[in-house]
Symmetry: D2
Subunit: 410 residues, 4 copies
C-alpha cells in the first residue's frame, strides 16, 4: 500500500496545473463573454479551439483512454484520476481543452472497445482529433429511466437497415453544430431476456427523421457552448445494419461498460469542483469582515471549511481506490465501488459548493462567480447516470447478499 | 390556545385557493411564454395585469397590510399568514396578482408607517393601486452587508437637498420600467452611534445620477418579469431633503421595522413553495414505476414524503405563532421568533424542493416544471435579509443572555 | 387561532414549576443516592413517596386523564401537554410524583375506557391513588413487534378461564414489587381478520405461571427504581374470563387507543428533556472558557444553541396542535399527527441532549449529570411504541393516498 | 499509488481474524459473565489472561509499537492500522488480548521514546510483558481541558523530588488493581511560554497522597474490567526528580507526541466497531420480516446499509493514508490528518452503531448485544483526546492559513 502518486502522474499533474494557471483560468472571462455574444446559442466560443491547440501542444490530449486501449495517452485509470480532478476546477473549459470531456470520452471508449474498423475510421478518429463531437441518446421522457428495462425506443431490423422510432431527451451536446454522431439505445428484441432486449446503434445526426425538438436547461443554464441537452424525436430513422455497435442485444451490457468509466470521470471532476469551491470560500471569507473579525475566523465558517477538507480527502481516496480497482480487477469487478463514488462525490461537491455560495452572500448566486453554475453541474450528477437511489440499492444488495434471509410468512 | 383558523381566514383561504385553481395555475404556461417573448427582458407579461384585475375584483388585494395601518385589508398578521402561504405556491404570479409581492409590500409598509402625507400621496397610493412598483436599495457589493454597520453609501446634506453617492446591488425589481421608486439606505452621520449613522431616503428612479449598471441573476434565472436585481451606482444623486423617510439617523431602526414583516412574508411563501414541491413529488412518483412498484411506494421516497410533511407542519406552526406574536407583542417583541422562521422556512423549502427535484429525475432540473427556479427562489432566502448565520447568532445571544459568564483569564 | 395558554394551564404551569423548583430538583441527588443504596435493586427510593404526597397536596395529581373520563383532573389534552412537558425535565421523578408516569397512565386510561366496574374497582382505583403500579406486556423477543400482526403469544379460552402462553419483554416496571398488574396482549383467534386476532387481558402479577426471567437494560441503565424492563415467560397462566379487557378480538383496537395518548405524553416529556439539556448546555458553556472566550460564545456552540431553540419551538407547537386535535377530532382523527410527533420529539431530544453532552466534555457522559441517562431515555423513544420507521411509513401512506398510482407493468 | 495491503499485513490480518473467530468471539459471553461475577468490580475476568497467553502464542503481541522503536513487532503504522481495526470488533477483549490496548499503548510509546533506561526497566518492560497496566492522568474536572493550557495541577520541584498537587479525572484504567503506574501531566513553570509550562511525571499508584476517589461511568457502563475511569486527588504526592519524563517543560510536546498514535489507534478501532455494527445490522434485519418482506429489503434499511458501507470505505482509506503519512513524514507532519480521522472515525462509528441499534429494536439498547456499549465507546471518542470542535478548528486553521486576511476595521 502506497499513497504517493507515481512519477508519470506527478509530472502530468504539474503540467496540467500549469496549463490551468497559464491558460484556463485566464480564459474564463473570455469564455463567458464569447459564449454570450455568439450568434448561435449552441456554437462554440473561439477560445476553446485555441485552448485545444495549446492543450495538445503541451502533451495534454486524450489522457482519458486507459492503457488497455490502442488509442490515447496510455495512462491507467489511477493515473488519469488526479488529472480529471484538476479539470473539474473548470468543467466547462478544461476537459474539452484536453479532449477529455463527456460524453465524447465515453463514446470514444465504446467505439474503441466495440467498434468495427469502419466505425472507428469514420467516427473514432475525428473524435480523437477533437474535430467533431458526439452525443449519447439513452434517457427517455416518458419512462423512469433509472430502471433501464423501462426504455421504450424501438430499433427494428428492416432488410439491411435498422429503423429507429422513439423519443429521447438529455442527449447532451446534440444541439451543437459540431456534434455529428448520436449513439442511440433502444429495444431490438422485446421478447428477449430483460438484459438482452436492447441494442446500441450509431446514428449520423443529419439522418432524415432525426428531429431535434429543443434543449432542456439545468437550473436556468442552457449549457449552450457544450451543445445543450437535446430532446430528440426519432421518427422512422433508417441507418444501415452495419451501424449497430457490438451485437444485437448487447445494449445493456455496453451501457454498463460505458457508464463505469463515465461515472468515475464525473466523480473525479466533482472533487475538483469541490476543491475550487472550497478555495473560493476561503478566499472570499478571508477578505471580508463582520462583527470585528474576518469571516474566515467565525466558528461556523471554520466548521464548513474543516468539514469540506475532511470530506474531500475521503472521497478522493475512494475515487482513487476505485480507479485502481478498475485497473486491477476490471470495470465489472469495481462495479459497486463505482456506485459508491457515483453517490459520494456529487453529494460532497453539492454540499461544498452550497456552503461556498452561502459564504459569498448575494455574490454566491449571481453570474459573477462560477459557483451557482457549478452547483447546477454537481447537482445533476446526483440524477444522471442513474439516480443516487439506484446506486444505493445496488450497494445495499451486494452488502446484504451474504446474509441468509428468513422465510417470510405473513 | 386554539389551532383553528378564524372565519375570516377560512373564507379568504377558500377564495384565494379558488383564485389559484381558476386563474393562477392555468396562467402558468402563458406567463412563461409571454415572459420569453417580450421585447423588453424586464417587461411584465400582459397576463399579470389581467390577473391583478381579477384578483382585485375577487376582493383579494393588499391583504398584507396589517390591521394597525390605515390602508389595506385590515387583516392581522395571523390572518394574512396562511394567505401568503398560498401565494407561495407560485411566487412569480400569485403575490403580484393580489398586490402582495416583495419588495413593494415592505416599502408600502414603511411609507405607511413613516411617510409624510406628501410622500404617501406621491408613492404609497399608486403602489396600493398596483400602478407602479418600487425597490429597496440596501445591499452593497463591496462590503459584507450581513453586518449592517458595514454599509458605506453616503447620504450627505447639502442645503435643502441630500446628495447620495455609493454602489448598491440586489436592488430587486429596479430593472422593470414599472419601477419608479428606490428607497435607499446610506450613512448620514458617520460619527454617530453605530445604530444611528444611517438614514433612508426616497429616490425617484429617473433622478440624474441613478446609473443602473446591470442585473444579477439567480442560478441562471434573471427574474426578468419582476424587474431583475439591479446593480446601481448612485453618482451625486440629488433629492430634496423632504424625501428623507423618518428622521435623520433612523435608517437602522426603520430597516429593522421593515425586515420583520418582510421576513415573515417570505417565510409564509416558503412554506407554500414546500407544499407545492411535495405535491409535485407525490404526483410524479405515483405516476412512474421502477423495479415493479410505483416509485411513491419505495421506502426512501416514502421517507422523503413523510419528513417533508412532518417538517412542513412544524415550520408552519412556528410561522403562525410568530405572526400571532407580531400581532400581540409587536414586531420588536417578536424579533427573535422572526429570526427563527427566517432560517427555518427557507431551509425547509430548499430541502423539500431538492428532494422533489431528485424524485423527478432529469425533468426536475429542466424548464418544464417550476422546481429548479423554485429552488433558486428558496435558496436565496437563506442569504437575503441577513444570511442565516446572522440570525442564528441573534437567537443564540438571546438564549444565552440570562446565563452569567465566567471571567476569561487566559 | 390563539397561541396563548389558557388560565387553567398557566396556573397549573406555575404551580408545577414551583413544585419542580422547590421539591423535584432539590430531590435529585437524594433520589440517586437512595436508588443506589436500596437493598432491592427494583425497590422505590423513599423520597418518591414523599414527593407523591407533596404533589398531591399541591393539587398536582392524575393530571393526565382527559376531560372525557370520569376520573382525573378534568384537563384537556391541550391543557395537560405543557404540564407533561415540565415533568420531562426530570423523567425519573417528576411524572411519578404527580402520578402521571408511564406505563400506568396508559393503563389507567384503558381501564377507564374499557374496564368493567369490577376491573375498575380492583385495579383502576389503587392506580389512581398511586398505591400500586402496573405494566403493559406487548413486545415479544422472537418477532419484529414493529409489525403488530407478528405477535405470537396465545390467549386461549378454556371453560370460564383464559390460558396464556408466550414470551414478552420490555414489560417496563414489572420488576418492581409495587407492580401488581400486567396487561397482556395476545392472540385469541388466529383465524380472524389480522386486526381482530388479538385481545388484551388483565393478569395479576402473582398468578402462577408468570415467570419473570430478568430485566433488560437501557445503555447500561437498569431503570431499577421504576421497576426495570421485565422479560416474562407466561407459562399456562390461567385467569378468569372476566379479566378480558373489552371484547374478544379488541386487542389491536385497544392498543391503538392506548398508544395515542401514550405517544403524545412521551413527546411532551421529550420536549421537556430537550429544554433541560439546552439549559444545561448554556449553563455549562457560560461557565467555562477556552481560547480566550467563554465557550458559549464560540460560533459552533452558538449554532447548537440556536438550532436547539428553533427546533424545540417547532416541535412543541406540533405537539400542542396534536393535543388540540385529540381534543377536537379524537384520538383516531389525530392518528397521523400522533405519528408525526412520535418521530419528531425524540429525534429532537436525542439531538439536543447529544449536543449538550458534547458541550460538557467528559462530564457529559458521566454519572454526575442527568445527560447520559436522559439520552438513553430519549433514544429508546425512537424504538418504543413502534419504531420511527413504521410511523414514517404511516405518514407517507396518508400523504400519498390521494394520488392515483400508475399501473405497474414490468 | 497502490491500494493492496502488503504481504506482512495480509498474513497478520489472516492470523488475527482467525484469532477473533477461534478465540475472541467465542469468549464474549464468558467475558461478560466473569465480569459480572467478579468480587472486585475493577478486577480482570480470568478469560483475559488466557486470551493474552493465546494471542502471544500466535505471534500477535505488541503489534502497535512502530518500526522506529527498539521494542515491539516492528510494523509500520500502515501495517498496524488494519490490525487495530480488526481488534475494534470487540474493543473490550481483542486489544488487550494482544497487548495493544489504550492507554497502555500510548504510555509504552512515551516510555520507549522519552524514558531513561531506569524508567524503561521499571515500567516499560512489565508493560510490554502484559504484567502490569498503566494510566494517563491529564484531564481535570475543574477546567475545560480541550484547551490544554487550562491545566492547573502543579508539579513543583522540592529538592530532589517533585511534589504534585491537583485533581484529575478520566484517568482510565486506574481503578484496576493491575494498574501500578500513573503518568501525570501538570504545570512545572507557570511563568514559561504557554507551551512550555507543563511537564509529565511517572507516579507509582501506591505513592502516598494518591487518593483515588471514585470512577466515572460512560452512559451507565463502568468499564470495570478495564479499570474504570478514576477521579484522583493528588495531595502532596512526592516522587523523585528522576521520575520526570523527558525534560522540564516538555509536557505539552510529549502530549502531542502521545496523542498522535493514540488517536490513530482509536480511529482504526472505531472502523472495526462500525464494521461489526454493520454486520450485526445485516444479520438481524435478514432474519426478521415485517409487512411481508425481510427487513433488510426495506428501502430505508437498505439506505442505512449502503451509506454505512460507503462511509466506512472512505474513512478507512483516510486512516490508512494517515498511517502512511506518519510513517513517511512523521507524527508532526501528519498532525492535521490525525485531527481529520480523529473526528471522522468516531462520527462514522456512532452513526453506524446508532442505525444498527435502531434496526435491532428493543434488543438494540439492551445488554444482549454489544451495540449499546459499543455506542458508548464510540461516543466518548468524540470527546476524548480533544473534543471534535478543537480538531475541526485546527483543520480549518491550516486550511485557511495561506489566505491573506483583510484588515478588520469596525
Amino acid at each position: 500500500m502506497d499513497f504517493a502518486y507515481d512519477e508519470t502522474t506527478v509530472e502530468l499533474q504539474q503540467r496540467l496545473l500549469a496549463f490551468m494557471d497559464e491558460c484556463v483560468y485566464p480564459a474564463e472571462a473570455r469564455f463567458r463573454e464569447e459564449a454570450e455574444s455568439l450568434d448561435d446559442r449552441w456554437g462554440t466560443p473561439p477560445v476553446i479551439e485555441e485552448l485545444k491547440a495549446e492543450g495538445r501542444r503541451r502533451g495534454l490530449w486524450n489522457l482519458f483512454l486507459p492503457r488497455t486501449h490502442e488509442y490515447g495517452a496510455g495512462l491507467t485509470n489511477l493515473q488519469y484520476a488526479p488529472l480529471a480532478e484538476i479539470t473539474g476546477r473548470n468543467p466547462w473549459i478544461a476537459p474539452e481543452a484536453i479532449n477529455c470531456s463527456a460524453p465524447d470520452t465515453g463514446n470514444m471508449e465504446l467505439l474503441s472497445l466495440f467498434g468495427t474498423e469502419a466505425q472507428k475510421e469514420r467516427w473514432l478518429e475525428p473524435l480523437l482529433e477533437g474535430e467533431i463531437r458526439s452525443a449519447f441518446s439513452m434517457t427517455e421522457p416518458e419512462v423512469a429511466s433509472s430502471d433501464a428495462t423501462n426504455i421504450a425506443t424501438r430499433i427494428e431490423r428492416d432488410g439491411d437497415d435498422y429503423v429507429i422510432n422513439g423519443r429521447k431527451w438529455w442527449t447532451s451536446g446534440a444541439m451543437s453544430p459540431r456534434c455529428t454522431l448520436l449513439i442511440v439505445m433502444g429495444v431490438t428484441d422485446p421478447d428477449a431476456h430483460r438484459y438482452r432486449r436492447q441494442s446500441m446503434i450509431l446514428v449520423p445526426k443529419d439522418t432524415p427523421g432525426v428531429n431535434i425538438r429543443r434543449s432542456t436547461s439545468l437550473f436556468g443554464y442552457d449549457d449552450g457552448p457544450h451543445g445543450g441537452h437535446a430532446e430528440i424525436v426519432y421518427d422512422n430513422v433508417r441507418v444501415p445494419a452495419s451501424n449497430l455497435l457490438g451485437e444485437d442485444g448487447d445494449g445493456f451490457r455496453i451501457a454498463q461498460e460505458r457508464l463505469g468509466p463515465g461515472r468515475i470521470h464525473h466523480a473525479m471532476r466533482a472533487i475538483g469542483m469541490a476543491e475550487r469551491a472550497l478555495e473560493m470560500m476561503c478566499e472570499r471569507t478571508a477578505q471580508r469582515s463582520t462583527f470585528g473579525r474576518p469571516i474566515i475566523e467565525h466558528g461556523v465558517v471554520q466548521r464548513w471549511i474543516s468539514e469540506a477538507r475532511v470530506r474531500i480527502e475521503q472521497v478522493r481516496l475512494l475515487v482513487l481506490k476505485t480507479a485502481w480497482l478498475m485497473d486491477t480487477v476490471g470495470n465489472r469487478g469495481a462495479r459497486i465501488e463505482v456506485s459508491a463514488i457515483k453517490v459520494a462525490a456529487p453529494e460532497l461537491a453539492t454540499w461544498v459548493i452550497d456552503r461556498a455560495i452561502q459564504a459569498h452572500g448575494g455574490l454566491g448566486v449571481a453570474q459573477d462567480t462560477l459557483l451557482p453554475e457549478l452547483y447546477a453541474v454537481a447537482r445533476i450528477l446526483q440524477i444522471a447516470d442513474g439516480p443516487d437511489e439506484v446506486h444505493h440499492m445496488a450497494i445495499a444488495r451486494r452488502e446484504s447478499a451474504r446474509y441468509e434471509r428468513v422465510p417470510v410468512t405473513n
